[in-house]
Assembly symmetry: C2
Homo-oligomer: 513 residues x 2
C-alpha cells in the first residue's frame, strides 16, 4: 500500500475532509478516517497478505460425505478479524449500526484488502450489498434479525443470479418461486458461480436472487466447487435447490427483485472496479521495489563489462513498464475515488437539480468504473510480471498469482462486452475504452493540478525537509504527462474510427471466421 | 488446427511449392509437404493435445534421493513418437541425415505441436538448434557421435545461458572453463532456467553454453525444478556444476561461443514467435467453436424474452473478440511464414546482392517476429478466454491454461524490452510495436491479395461447390479490412509520438515513482 498516494487522492485531490461539514458525515473528521486506514493497513498485512499465496495453493476443500466446504483456518480467522474490526459496517448508515463513513473512505479501506489478498477479500462486498438491500427493502423482521447478523459477519451474504445457461442474460434464468400458505415461497432451480455460497465461517448464508428472496443456506445442497485460474479462496460454488424446493422469504415486492438487486449490482460494479486496482497496485509496488534492487546490464553508453551492473530501474524500457503501471493504477484509483465522491455527494445533497446531474454522471461512470480498471489494471499486472523477467513467471514471486487473480474482474458483475454505456450496444467496447481513457486523463489532470498546488505550497514553506514530498509531486506531474502523451493521444484515433461508423465488426458473418 | 488456413498461407500466399524448383529442395513436392503436415496433425492430436491438461496438472516430479526427474509417461511416449516420426530432422540438411524441407514447412509442422501442447513441445527446438550448431561448428567426432543422437531424440539438447544473477546481461555470466591436459575443459558454475535440463527420455542431455561447450549431463547435479505459472511440462531446471567441475568439450573456437550460439538463438527467436502463435491459434479456434454453440441473450432489436436465445457469435462484441483474434493470430502466422520464406530464400540464393538484401531484412524481422507474436497472441488469448465468460476462467475449459502457457514467450529468448531493433535501445518497445503492426498489416495485404485472386479463380470456375472457399476468402478480406482500420491506424499516432522524441520515459527519475 502506498499510503502517501492514498492520502494525496483522498485529501489533496478529492478533499474528503470537506464532507465532514455535511450533516451526514458531521460525526467524522480526518483522525477518524486515518484511524480506519491505519487499522486496515495492519489487519490487511497480518491477516490477509500473509496468507495470500497459501490460500491460492490450498483452495477450499469440499467433502461430499458431510456436504461441507472447509476453508483455510487462517482465512476463517481473517474473516472474523475483519468483521470484528467493524469493516463490514464502514459505509453503512448509523441508523442500522454502521460507522456511516464516506464511500471514498470505505473504498480506501477496501483497497488495502484487495491489494493484500484479492481472492479472499472479494466476498465482503456481498455482505454489505445484501445488508443494504435489506435495509431499504426488507421487512421489519428481516431488518431486525438478518441485517445485524450480516453486519457482524456471523452470516454471509451472496448474490445468486447466474445459472449455467444464463450468465449475461438474466431475463432467462429458470429458478422459480411458488407462494406458500404461510407467506414463504418454495424456490426451485440451480445456481452457479455463487461466490461465498458455502464456507465454514460459522453462521448461516443468506442467498439473494430474483424476485428477491432470502434463502437460508441450510435449505440447499451444494456440488463441489470448481477450480479456477485464480481467486481460489473465493469458493465460488454451484448450488442446487434441495429436492422439493428451498424455503425463500420475499424481500421487497414480487418481480421488483432485479430493481432492488441493482442497488447491490451498482455498488458491486464500483467495488469490482476498485477491486481491480488492488492486485495491480500490489504488482506495481512489488515490481518497483524489485526494479530498484535487481541489477542487470549497463547504460547503453557504457561498454565496459568490468563496471558493476546497474539497477534495472535505470533502463528506459523498465521505466516504461513502471510508468505505464503507475499511470494505469493511480489513474484508475483516481477514477474510482472520484466516483465514490459522486456517490458521497448524492448522499449529502438534497437539491434536486444537482442530484439529477450527479445521477446522470453516475450512470455514465458506473460501467466505465467497472470496465476500465478491470481491463487496464490487468494490463498493468502483465507488465509488473515482465519487470521481473523469468522470476515473474514463477511461484516464488507473487506476480503470477496477481496476474491470475486480476483476471475475473473482466468477467463477473457483467462482462465488459455486455455492459451498457448509455444504451450503446454496437461498438460498446470502443466507446467504453475511449470514455475510460478520457475520464482517466481527466483524473490525471486533477491529480496534476493538486500536485502543482502541493509544489507551490512546498516552495512557500521553503526548507528541504520536504524532499520526499517534492519527488512525489514531480512524479505525479510526470505521470500525468505520460498518460496524456501516450494514452490520451490514442482517443483521437478511437474517436475518428467511431465517427467513421466503421461496420467491419457488425458486417462480419459467422461462416467467414 | 485450421489446415485450410495453413494451406492458404503456405501455397497461396508464400508459394512454397516454387522452392521445389531450386536445387536445395528439388527432392520435395507438394505431396511431400502435405504428408508431413498430415502426420503432424495426427501425432499432435493423439500424443500432444490429449495430454495437454494432464501435463499441466502433473508437472515433472523431482526426487532428491535418486536425483532424477520423472515426466508424465505419456510425455515420454510423445517425445519418442515425435522423434520416430523424424520431426527433429525436418529442417536439417540431407548431408546430416535430415529431410531438408523448407523452414516454412518445418515451421508449419511445428505449429501443430505448439497449438496442441505449448508447454511440452518447446524443447524440441533446442535439439534442432544444438544439432545445427554441431553441424556447423562441431569437430568431426562430435558430428559423428553426438549429432545423430540429437536428431534421433535419443539425446536432448539444451541452451545453458542464464544464471540467477544474469539473464538479459549475458556478458556477466560467471561460469568458467579451464583447459585440461587431455584437451577437455573443466566447467564450474551454476545455471538456471534451463529448459529440458533434466528429463527421463532415456539418453544423455547435451548442454551448450558460452564459449560453446558440450557438457554431458551425468557430470552435473540438479536442484529441484521451480513451479511456474504455465509451461509446466517443460521442466526448466536449475543446475549446478558438480564439485570439482564438469567435463566440457569445446565446440568451435574459444570465445566464439556467443557467435555460434546466435545461430541457435536466431532460429529460436523465430521459433518462439511461431510458438506464440500456437496457443493463440488453439484459443481462437476453441472460442470460435464455443461462440457458435453457446446461446445467450438476443439481438438488440428483439425485446421478446419468449423467443429463443441466439448463439453469442451473433453479438457484435463477440464478433469483435473473434475478429481481433483472427487478425492477430493469422496475421502473426503470416509474418512468421514470410520470415521463414526469407530464411528459405537465403538458403537457395547464391547471388551476393540478393543475399545481402535478404540478410538485412532478416535482421530487421528477427526481433519483430520474436516480440510481436509473443505480445499480441497473448492479447488474443486474453480475449479467447473472455468469449467463454465465467467458463473461460475455470479449469474445465482449456482457455486458462493457454493464457498461462502463452505468457513466457514475452520473457525467454530475450525479454521484449531487451531486444534490439536495429540498435535502438530507447523507446525500443514503441519501435517494435510500430514496426510489428506495420509488418503484420503488410502480411494482411498479401493475404488479402491472395484472397482476391482466389475469389476471381472461383468466379472463373463457376459452380457453387466452392461456397466454403468463398466464405474463407471473404473472411480474409474482411479481416484485412479490420486490421487496417482498427490496428494499422494506430501506427500513425505511434509514429507521431516517436517523431516528437517524447522523453517522458527517459527523464522519469527513480525516486519519483
Ligand atoms: C470468479 C467468479 C465469481 C462469480 N461470482 C458470482 C456471484 O457471486 N453471483 C453470480 O450471480 N454470478 C457470479 N459469477 C458469474 C458471472 O457473473 C458470469 O460469469 C458473467 O455474468 C458472465 O456470464 P457467463 O459466464 O454465463 O457468460 P455468457 O453470458 O455466456 O457470456 C459469454 C460471452 O458472450 C458475451 N455476451 C453475452 N451476451 C452478450 C450480449 N447480449 N451482447 C454482447 N456480448 C454478449 C459476453 O460478454 C461473454 O464474452 C462469477 C463468475 C466468476 C468467474
Ligand atoms: C519458462 C522459461 C524457460 C527458459 N528457458 C531457458 C533456457 O532453456 N536456457 C536459458 O539459458 N535461459 C532460459 N530462460 C531464461 C530466460 O532467457 C531469462 O529469464 C530472460 O533472458 C530474462 O532474464 P532474467 O529472468 O534474469 O530477467 P532480467 O535480465 O533480470 O530482466 C528483468 C527485467 O529487466 C529488463 N532488462 C534487463 N536488462 C535490460 C536492458 N539492458 N535494457 C532494457 N531492459 C532490460 C528485462 O526486459 C526484464 O523486464 C527461461 C525462462 C523461462 C521463464
Amino acid at each position: 500500500m502506498n499510503r502517501r498516494d492514498l492520502d494525496f487522492i483522498l485529501y489533496e485531490v478529492e478533499n474528503v475532509e470537506a464532507l465532514c461539514q455535511t450533516e451526514r458525515y458531521q460525526h467524522c473528521d480526518r483522525p477518524t478516517f486515518d484511524a480506519a486506514l491505519d487499522t486496515a493497513h495492519q489487519l490487511a498485512h497480518s491477516h490477509f497478505h500473509q496468507y495470500n499465496a497459501k490460500g491460492d495453493r490450498h483452495p477450499p476443500q469440499y467433502c461430499q460425505e458431510t456436504d461441507t466446504l472447509t476453508l483455510l483456518p487462517e482465512h476463517v480467522a481473517a474473516h472474523r478479524a475483519y468483521s470484528d474490526a467493524g469493516f463490514l459496517t464502514t459505509s453503512m448508515d448509523a441508523e442500522v449500526g454502521g460507522s456511516q463513513m464516506p464511500v471514498a473512505v470505505s473504498g480506501a479501506v477496501g483497497l488495502h484488502f484487495s491489494s493484500a489478498n484479492a481472492g479472499f477479500s472479494a466476498h465482503f462486498a456481498l455482505n454489505v450489498g445484501a445488508a443494504k438491500i435489506l435495509q431499504h427493502h426488507g421487512t421489519d423482521e428481516q431488518r431486525a434479525h438478518v441485517l445485524p447478523k450480516l453486519l457482524s459477519g456471523e452470516w454471509c451474504g451472496t448474490m445468486c443470479l447466474s445459472e449455467t445457461h444464463a450468465g449475461s442474460s438474466l431475463t432467462d434464468i429458470r429458478t422459480t418461486a411458488h407462494p406458500q400458505p404461510d407467506g414463504t415461497y418454495k424456490i426451485r432451480g440451480n445456481k452457479m458461480w455463487i461466490t461465498a455460497a458455502e464456507n465454514n465461517f460459522g453462521g448461516t448464508i443468506a442467498h439473494m436472487g430474483i424476485s428477491l428472496f432470502l434463502v437460508p443456506k441450510h435449505a440447499l445442497s451444494f456440488s463441489e466447487e470448481g477450480v479456477s485460474l485464480g481467486d481460489r479462496p473465493a469458493s465460488s460454488s454451484a448450488w442446487a435447490g434441495a429436492t422439493g424446493g428451498a424455503t425463500g422469504h420475499l424481500v421487497g415486492e414480487p418481480n421488483q427483485g432485479l430493481h432492488c438487486m441493482f442497488i447491490m449490482m451498482n455498488e458491486l460494479r464500483f467495488q469490482v472496479g476498485l477491486g481491480g486496482v488492488g492486485p495491480a497496485l500490489a504488482g506495481y509496488l512489488y515490481s518497483l521495489q524489485y526494479a530498484r534492487q535487481r541489477t542487470q546490464g549497463r547504460s547503453p553508453l557504457c561498454r565496459d563489462p568490468s563496471t558493476p551492473m546497474v539497477p534495472i530501474i535505470e533502463h528506459s524500457d523498465v521505466k516504461r513498464m513502471l510508468l505505464l503501471q503507475k499511470a494505469y493504477v493511480e489513474g484508475a484509483l483516481g477514477l474510482c475515488m472520484y466516483t465514490a465522491g459522486v456517490i458521497d455527494a448524492l448522499a449529502t445533497t438534497a437539491d434536486a437539480a444537482a442530484r439529477s446531474d450527479k445521477l446522470l454522471l453516475l450512470e455514465l461512470l458506473t460501467p466505465v468504473v467497472k470496465a476500465w480498471p478491470s481491463e487496464w489494471c490487468l494490463e498493468a499486472n502483465k507488465w509488473a510480471m515482465q519487470v521481473l523477467g523469468g522470476y515473474g513467471y514463477t511461484q516464488d514471486f507473487p506476480l503470477e498469482q496477481l496476474y491470475r487473480d486480476a483476471r475475473p474482474n473482466m468477467i463477473y458483475e457483467g462482462t465488459s462486452g455486455a455492459l451498457d454505456l448509455l444504451g450503446r450496444k454496437a461498438n460498446s467496447h470502443a466507446y467504453l475504452t475511449m470514455t475510460g481513457h478520457t475520464a482517466v486523463a481527466w483524473q490525471w489532470l486533477r491529480q496534476g493540478t493538486a500536485a502543482r498546488r502541493g509544489l507551490l505550497r512546498l516552495e512557500a514553506e521553503g526548507g528541504d525537509a520536504s524532499a520526499d514530498d517534492e519527488a512525489f509531486y514531480r512524479g505525479k506531474l510526470h505521470t500525468m504527462q505520460w498518460f496524456t502523451r501516450q494514452e490520451l493521444s490514442k482517443t483521437e484515433g478511437m474517436a475518428q474510427l467511431l465517427c467513421s461508423l466503421d461496420d467491419t465488426n457488425v458486417s462480419m458473418r459467422g461462416n467467414w471466421f
